[in-house]
Amino acid sequence: MRTENQKAWFFVLPVLALVAFNALVPMMTVVNYSVQETFGNNQFFWEGLGWFEQILRSDRFQAALGRQFLFTGMILAIEVPLGIIVALSMPRKGFWVPVCLVLMALPMLIPWNVVGSMWNIFTLPKIGLLGYFLNDVLGINYDMTQQPLSAWITVVVMDVWHWTSLVVLLCYAGLVSIPDAYYQAAKIDGASPWSVFRYIQLPKMKTVLTIAILLRFMDSFNIYTEPFVLTGGGPGNSTTLLSIDLVKIALGQFDLGPAAAMSLIYFAITLLVSWVFYTLMTKDDAE
């Protein structure tokens, strides 16, 4: 049991100072921009909540937000079940366990822009392995730079490739913590594989699975570098996710006001959904 001690604050101070410097100052800058209009020369005019209204009503933002939710939804719908299946079928002990784990973790350790370039090289028609295979062997017309559907599938498959291992590793950690006795008891009771999964494995994986979903939600919702390098948001606007659109507005068009307002709305949405997951998680911890 943890004891009450207000002096513990001193231990937290370095972290607090560092993160406050990094988070509060930039955040206030963003808030500052979001309520002002500028015409350059460092002259600012009060704009109130105008930018927020404009962003929320704009078709462009709504479309990007829609694409973002579709993307994150697809990512969670594919990666979570796939991760559970792979984790369930992994060996529990032996020589192959560390080998499997290291190989699976490898995609996560590749810089994000390299991931984008790698998939670009991989999917080029005529030159790339996948592009060649689909176009010239299977005869499917596939060109990411021309067809929105191909681009979408490629971005999703790339993320599945990149991050499913996170779900696998988390679930695997939950699974190895189940004592053998549980399985033996299930065997004696004649439990089917499904009931073993439903009543033994799934409850044990609950905490780690929540962490996995939380992390996957946050990271896929904030994704920028990989799709930007791979498709640049195109063809057209078809794969322009929220972050890509935001950077376009902020650094491309230098519309600081709208970009700042959009940042705050974006952050608020991420925060809200993550908070729901977090409360679910800590509720489990308390039990």
């Binding site: 963003v30 060996p91 190989l103 590749i110 392995l129 695997y172 946050m218």
Partner: protein, 265 residues
């Protein structure tokens, strides 16, 4: 058992294919790449790697990346250790709120912070230094390190602390000589994660650097566009960015599953 292992094998094969392709491309000449499809390099060449290891703009990219990543890892773990200890051992005013606030920084889209970070670090004259990137990356690495370390520390019974105090240990001595060795797996895992997320993050690293501290990724985009589309060179540079991660992960392979679960299994 045998039948089941087909799923991990297929999954790993799927993971390895794009990596194989990147490595294969790095050993091909530009001519071979553009002339058509070949599964294996026909004219095996080390030309691309030689270019990278002899051209300072290229290899300094790697040195820069490794420098700020190392700096960030040390910084993040050092400040996270006492904080994680406080969270795992004591209740204090606002602890839960503080913990959640720390985590929210992990949720902030990096794109939101790119421009303000540029202005902030320019104004304190840190722009284009290792320290700027290392400090900026603490935004998401420190909360993560606190989270992981707290999970590991919670697993150490409180009796250990109390026994040490009864034996007359001072807090710093107890922390360094008794507590740290007990959670060294946790420290390793936390350091690994800091390394990993600092190594793979590119948007902030690119925004905060120009010449002196330019990360390898920025070198890659620039060289790729200025010298035409040299896919072989790009592939070789990409292949080399995989190696540090592969080395680091080998050291923590036995803790990696538990580490990913943030010590919460």
């Amino acid at each position: 058992m045998k039948k089941r292992s087909i799923i991990p094998i297929l999954y790993i094969a799927f993971l390895m294919l794009p990596i194989y392709w990147l490595v294969a491309m790095s050993f091909k000449t530009t001519n071979e790449i553009l002339s058509g499809f070949s599964l294996f390099p026909q004219t095996f060449t080390l030309e691309n790697y030689i270019t990278i290891f002899t051209d300072p703009t290229w290899y300094w990219g790697y040195i820069n990346s490794i420098s700020y990543v190392t700096l960030n890892t040390i910084l993040s773990v050092c400040v996270a250790l006492p904080a994680a200890y406080a969270f795992s051992r004591y209740r204090f005013l606002g602890d839960k709120q503080l913990f959640f606030w720390l985590l929210t920084n992990r949720m902030a889209p990096a794109a939101v912070f790119a421009l303000p970070f540029f202005q902030l670090y320019s104004s304190i004259h840190l722009f284009d230094t290792y320290l700027a990137v290392a400090l900026a990356h603490t935004l998401f690495n420190v909360p993560l390190a606190v989270w992981i370390l707290e999970g590991f520390m919670r697993g150490i019974p409180k009796e250990l602390d109390e026994t040490a105090y009864v034996d007359g240990y001072s807090f710093p001595r107890f922390f360094v000589t008794i507590f740290l060795p007990n959670i060294k797996a946790g420290v390793g895992v936390a350091a690994f994660f800091c390394f990993m997320f600092s190594w793979v993050e590119m948007l902030l690293a690119k925004t905060l650097t120009a010449v002196e501290a330019k990360p390898i990724a920025a070198v890659m985009t620039r060289t790729a566009s200025s010298a035409g589309y040299e896919l072989g060179l790009l592939a070789a540079a990409g292949t080399l960015t995989i190696i540090p991660g592969a080395i680091v992960i080998w050291f923590v392979r036995n803790y990696i599953a538990r580490g990913f679960a943030m010590g919460r299994v």
